[in-house]
């Protein structure tokens, strides 16, 4: 897995953004390439102003939730291939189905370990490579 990836971490809790950042760095990703946004609205603004290779987003957020962010991303042709990993506290069947239908690439239930995060990321990029879509 490419470690020089530009990653956008979206969560309304700053502690959770920090934890995800720590976990990603633990997996060898470069800290300075990790950006943070506190909700879907600011995430979209950041996506428009710079390019990213991966979005890791929480589900429950004020202003714009993770699922709405995902739908907004998929609605833009230029972000069609942008991998989105959904992080949520709820292991809810309906949510998982909604995320899958909206075109999510991976789904992780909090709390998760660095190993679980790595496994999900590896699978996401393996599948993308297999489908020939570049992020």
């Amino acid at each position: 897995m490419e470690k020089n990836m530009k990653i956008l971490v979206v969560d309304d809790f700053s502690t959770m953004r920090r934890i995800v950042r720590n976990l990603l760095m633990e997996l060898g990703f470069s800290g300075p390439l990790i950006q943070e946004a506190e909700d879907g609205v600011s995430a979209l603004a950041m996506l428009r102003s710079m390019s990213f290779d991966l979005v890791v987003t929480d589900w429950n957020m004020p202003n714009m939730s993770g699922i709405d962010l995902l739908r907004a991303i998929r609605a833009e042709p230029i972000w069609k291939g942008l991998p989105v990993l959904m992080v949520t506290a709820e292991n809810n069947r309906d949510q998982i189905i909604a995320a899958a239908q909206a075109g999510v690439n991976g789904y992780v239930v909090k709390p998760f370990s660095a190993a679980t995060l790595e496994e999900k990321l590896v699978r996401i990029f393996e599948r993308l490579a297999a489908s020939g879509v570049s992020a």
Binding site: T15, L23, A89, S113
Partner: protein, 213 residues
């Protein structure tokens, strides 16, 4: 009831009653019967009046208590406490994360240095033993720090619940304010002193009419 036609009596009445109504004292008997019915009606009205008054009083007291205790300031206080919990827990989690971020480079450096020592000394001399120990310690520390970082997600998990409770308090607050408004509207039209005792049909009727009966 028409006392002049005692013979137009329901055939379903018990024979004893029919006989009495048909007797010379029929009119007096019917009047007595009428009185009994009226008395019973009055009991019913009195009971209904009492019930309506109790309900009204309870609503007024509830509204008064809630207004006195200050629903808005109470709810705002509760929300503030929860906000404090969120901030304090975030602060505590951040301190742990600070510590982990500060210690990880040190663990990395120790691991690196120990590896370098092991590259030029091997066997069981003191330096090699110490270097191996340091390497083990550095690895265990790194893994422990990673666990500690991960375990700080309790702040996010508990915080989500605190936020839900905060939203619930908002709902309860608006319901209570609506109740206060309603009871206030009821209290505004009441005359509690006049309604302390319901002793007559007129009192009961007056009280009931206040409530739209």
């Amino acid at each position: 009831m028409n006392t002049t036609t005692p013979l137009a009596i329901d055939a379903n009445l018990p024979p004893q009653l029919r006989d009495l109504l048909n007797s010379a004292d029929g009119a007096a008997f019917e009047q007595a019967l009428d009185t009994i019915v009226r008395q019973r009606e009055q009991h019913l009205f009195r009971a209904l009046g009492q019930l309506a008054r109790d309900l009204h009083e309870a609503m007024r007291r509830l509204g008064g208590d809630l207004a006195h205790e200050g629903v808005s300031s109470g709810a705002a206080g509760a929300r503030q406490h929860l906000q404090d919990v969120l901030e304090m827990s975030a602060q505590a989690a951040n301190r742990s994360l600070d510590f982990a971020e500060r210690m990880r480079p040190q663990a990395d450096a120790l691991s690196q240095n120990a590896s370098e020592v092991l590259a030029w000394t091997s066997g069981n001399d003191a330096a090699a033993v110490l270097a191996r120990q340091a390497l083990e310690f550095a690895d265990a520390s790194r893994s422990g720090l990673a666990d500690m970082v991960l375990s700080q997600s309790w702040q996010d998990l508990t915080g989500q619940r605190v936020k839900k409770v905060t939203a619930f308090i908002g709902t309860v607050e608006s319901s209570l304010l609506e109740l206060v408004r309603l009871t206030g509207a009821l209290s505004g039209s009441e005359s509690p002193a006049a309604a302390v005792h319901v002793s007559s049909q007129e009192d009961a009727d007056r009280l009931l009419s206040e409530f739209g009966f």
